[in-house]
Symmetry: C2
Amino acid sequence: MAGKNIEQEQPSREEIRLPMVLQALSDPVRLGIVLKLAGTGEIACGSFGLEMPKSSLSHHFKVLRNSGVVATQREGKEWVNSLRRDDLDALFPGVLDSIIAAAGSGRETTAQG
Amino acid sequence: MAGKNIEQEQPSREEIRLPMVLQALSDPVRLGIVLKLAGTGEIACGSFGLEMPKSSLSHHFKVLRNSGVVATQREGKEWVNSLRRDDLDALFPGVLDSIIAAAGSGRETTAQG
DNA sequence: TGGACGGTTCGACAATTCTCGAACTATGCC
DNA sequence: GGCATAGTTCGAGAATTGTCGAACCGTCCA
């Protein structure tokens, strides 16, 4: 088969709800993922230097997907993640940008000591 | 005594964390409160037409206070709530505004029937 | 076809959150 | 002082969330 463009279950644009988006972004781990995603563009799940079991990381990506924040596609044997900026900007203008800017400028990203 | 300017426990500006703010705003009930607060300026806790026991409402206000989103002060025998716009704008420019705008334009506010 | 690799899914457990009734505290008024 | 009002605090129970190990599935490569 092709082995491309196979998507995980994700909400359509109309199904995205603001509370769910905020809920997804309210976790330091996920906020860190989104921040990194915003800087890099597309990343595979394993490419985060996070000290976590696969299953925990997968859970966080699932939350991000279900809320409509990120899209995940097969690309070879990896899953590649990207921010759904178009959808989020259309629905909630400025929300994602300002949150990324705020998280990036401070040290509010990951729960550090 | 005076009976004014008595505050509830609230974080100082430096103690406010973005994830906690987003967490506070990720609940439809609280998002509705913030939205109403943004439009009216100051409101007492009981002045929301929400069908909820006092204790539940009080809980939500507590979350909003602890996260640094709202400030609460005694004013006579009422507690008056107001958004901490100055603090939030200084820490996370645009975040509160865009969220309020997004919540206000759509019907994402309260879990309606 | 049989690995190795990247992630997901499942089940379990602990921790947090939401909701509610009941009791309590503080204020203002008589 | 005594009472009504406004809201908090204190349990308790149900639901959701975060974390983890183990098993599973799809893709690539030899």
